[in-house]
Amino acid sequence: MTTCPRPENLYLYLEGELGPYDAAKLEEHIEGCAACRDALAERRVLHEAFTSLSPFEVPDDFARSVMDNLPEPAVRKAGWLAPLIAAVSALSVGLLGFNLFTGTSVLEVLVAVNGFFGSALARVAPLLAKTLKLLNVLLDVAVDLVRLGFTGLVTFSRVLGPQGIALVFGLGALLTILAVFGARRFLHEGEHS
């Protein structure tokens, strides 16, 4: 006959917490051991009592009194900055895109929008129009500068030819490497000094 199970396992068996192998071994042992059979029977009664203890009575108005004592709800305040930035960014990108793809100036678009939305917008439209006109001018200048830079680069590369471009890139890479190593050495010496 196998050895008597630990009392701990009797409780775990009753709770269904013993693995199938250990449970089978325990059942097999109990068949032939009167002492363990009695011990299990007693713990079964106790287990039944343990698992059926009465809950505490709670007054009907308990939840109400809890709620009455709670502070005002700490509602998460919606941030206003992020939506504002998102809206302004979306509008700017939209107008810029419209300007680039259709060639229609931002001012014209604004005028059209102004006409659509009517008098309310008309009050702020002049100020907005001036601002946007200024932005439009700045944008035109920026576009012209980029275009000029690009044209200059194309002309320069044509003048240099393929060998010249390779030489410029090579020199650039060499200068970058020297600058990086120089900086690292400078920093290294700085740490030691």
Partner: protein, 186 residues
């Protein structure tokens, strides 16, 4: 579980009705636990109020990956520990074996003893358990209550108390054997 998460989410948006539903759902399990830990119904109700208030104020820190009930009972358990510390009541270290004098539990020996089952009827056994429960160390009582009154799994209790599952199982067993011995002696 999902329902709890939804209620918490609504409560975080300022829906007080949602939190009231949480209170109604957990008022009885929480009071049953706190009642057994304090031994007084009125004190248990006061503690339950405080636990719900703490839970409400720290609701934003609840992480939906975990069960709400274990989170709430963790607050309740910490609340009890603070209470005992303030009152300077003796607590039992989780690393220290429970040695209760003549009631020391000997887990290796199957001791049938005089049968409690033969001595009392079930209703009377429950009454005796309630009486004996008040006399066992709080560290054991708490784990016993969480397991058999609140019906948490061993893993959930381990989560609430921050203990290894094996330790929880062992402590619950010790509590049960201690209760049995106290009842035999009564």
């Amino acid at each position: 579980m999902t329902e709890d998460r939804q209620l918490v989410s609504k409560a975080l948006k300022g829906d007080r009705k949602a939190f009231e539903m949480i209170v109604r759902k957990y008022e009885q399990p929480l009071t049953s636990y706190l009642g057994r830990m304090t031994g007084e119904r009125e004190a248990a109700l006061d503690f339950a109020q405080e636990v719900f208030l703490t839970a409400y104020c720290s609701l934003a820190s609840y992480r939906p990956a975990f069960k709400f009930s274990t989170w709430l009972f963790k607050i309740a358990s910490n609340h009890m520990i603070d209470h005992w510390r303030k009152k300077k009541l003796p607590t039992v270290s989780i690393d220290q074996p429970i040695d209760d004098g003549e009631d020391a539990v000997m887990p290796q020996i199957a001791d049938p003893g005089p049968s409690v089952a033969r001595k009392f009827e079930l209703a009377e056994i429950r009454k005796k358990i309630e009486q004996a429960l008040a006399t066992i160390p709080a560290a054991l009582r708490e784990l016993f209550v969480l397991r058999h009154v609140n019906e948490f799994s061993y893993e959930e209790i381990a989560d609430i108390k921050g203990l290894p599952v094996g330790t929880v199982k062992n402590r619950v067993f010790q509590a049960k054997e201690l209760l049995r011995r106290r009842m035999e002696g009564s």
